[in-house]
Amino acid sequence: MKAEYYVRETASNLGRNITITLASVMTVAVSLALVGASLMLRSGVENATRRWQGGIEFVIFMQRDPSPEQVQSLRDDLEQSPEVASVRFVDKKEAYEEFKLLFADSPELVDSIEPETLPPSFRVEPVNKEVDAVEALGKTYASKSGVGQVVFASKTIRLIQQLSSRLTVGIFVIAAFLLGAAGLLILNTIRMAMFARRREIEVMKLVGATNWFIRVPFMLEGLVQGLIGAFLAIAALAAFKPFFQKWLPSSRDIPLVSGFQVSSGEMFFIFGTLGAVGILIGAIGAGIAVSRFLDV
């Protein structure tokens, strides 16, 4: 009985101001799509440059099968060096896992590699991050026994990371403004619905309908607008994802970086975030409208 009433009233509220309802739904959708796209971009860049996260400036690859003594000796060296801020050892197994992730866009390459063929490595974060100092420090390890190659973070990678983080911030700022606009639009849609129903509301108060009974359809109206907006944004991003990965450079274009992959787990997280933000913005808009303009 009650549920039926709420559904009917909410649907009729939404239908009554269909144009402004659509305006708020579309604003929610566009702003959430922007949020989602920037989150996708961030994950993509993070995945592509995973090796170079957290201030890692160079990687010392061992030969394919170093003796445990060689590994231990290099580890002691690195850990005792005052010029090394931190060091992390990546064994064959972990290297393979990372390789699979990095080259997820070229499965034939992943298939051709066995875990044994990948060398273990040390990821090194130096104290001094000046380019010359990093290179000088890295080169001192190139001649140690068991070391295969020392690889430095290229300028391209730093550039990509910087660009993506600035782009993400920029998109977030725009999206925040749009979300604010969406919240205000939802608030006004509900206010109009209340105005259209002022006689009903007056009678409801008179005959003793509870405050929540009067409020619920308007609250639901806001939530539905937020949810539909979020749903549209999610659908758009899901449809857009294959193109997103095609457009961005692949591992073949930039050395030492792999494809811009966004895993399905990350997509799930992004979609969940969008849904939650959509509901939140609807609830905030509706909550303000109900508390400010519904004098019960």
Partner: protein, 225 residues
């Protein structure tokens, strides 16, 4: 049923709408509130269902001090009080049946109760044959009957009427008064604010006269002045 103790109510414009009022109304009484416009009749009525709160004094309705009532309980107070107004306050987009059913629907009464009680009350007010008409298809008197039906369908203990005949011609008014009288005879306490001298003088019920916020007369079986 209703007890008003030393109640004073003034509005921001510094006009005193009710000054130190003391009234006791027993269950089943029929009371007329008379007085010029602005004498405080509407305020008196609005205080009873807590649309207004007094500046000082206490108001008891059905044994409860409504000043102590928390906000969320006010709707439950109002379920015991039916209200009828000069301007009917019917919903133009709903039929007669739906207008009356609405009052039950929004307090969560089940469909079965609505389907049983609405036809019965429409029969009582003599509008069974118009139940699927819209308010704008009815005369003023018929619209007021619908409004009375809506106020009474939940069988409240008290019926408040603020100039219910204010927009009606004398003949139609008599019909409405008969209806209110019948409702009163079922044991419902009726408090009615009115300007209608003819009605007050014919019915000869208790009359409370207000003048600029003060009760100047409280007379059983009284007349308009």
């Amino acid at each position: 049923m209703i007890k008003i103790e030393n109640v004073t109510k003034s509005y921001k414009t510094s006009t005193v709408a009710l000054r130190d009022a003391n009234v006791e109304i027993a269950k089943g009484e029929f009371v007329f509130l008379v007085g010029a416009s602005g004498s405080g009749k509407s305020t008196f009525i609005r205080l009873l269902n807590k649309e207004e709160t007094p500046d000082s004094g206490r108001i008891f309705v059905a044994g409860k001090d409504i000043g102590q009532l928390s906000n969320w309980k006010v709707p439950f107070l109002r379920r015991n009080i039916g209200c009828v107004f000069q301007d009917f306050k019917l919903l133009p987009t709903k039929t007669v049946f739906e207008n009356v059913a609405f009052a039950l629907e929004v307090i969560g009464r089940p469909r079965s109760v609505i389907d049983a009680q609405v036809p019965a009350i429409l029969d009582l007010v003599g509008l069974s044959h118009k139940s699927s008409n819209f308010p704008n298809e009815l005369s003023g008197g018929e619209q007021q009957r619908v409004s009375v039906a809506r106020a009474f369908v939940n069988r409240p203990l008290i019926l408040l009427a603020d100039e219910p005949t204010g927009n009606l011609d004398p003949a139609t008014s008599v019909g409405i008064m008969r209806l209110l009288d019948r409702i009163n005879k079922t044991g419902t306490t009726v408090v009615m604010a009115t300007h209608d001298r003819g009605i007050v003088d014919t019915m000869r019920r208790r009359v409370i006269e207000l003048d600029r916020g003060s009760i100047v007369r409280d007379q059983s079986r009284g007349v308009y002045e």
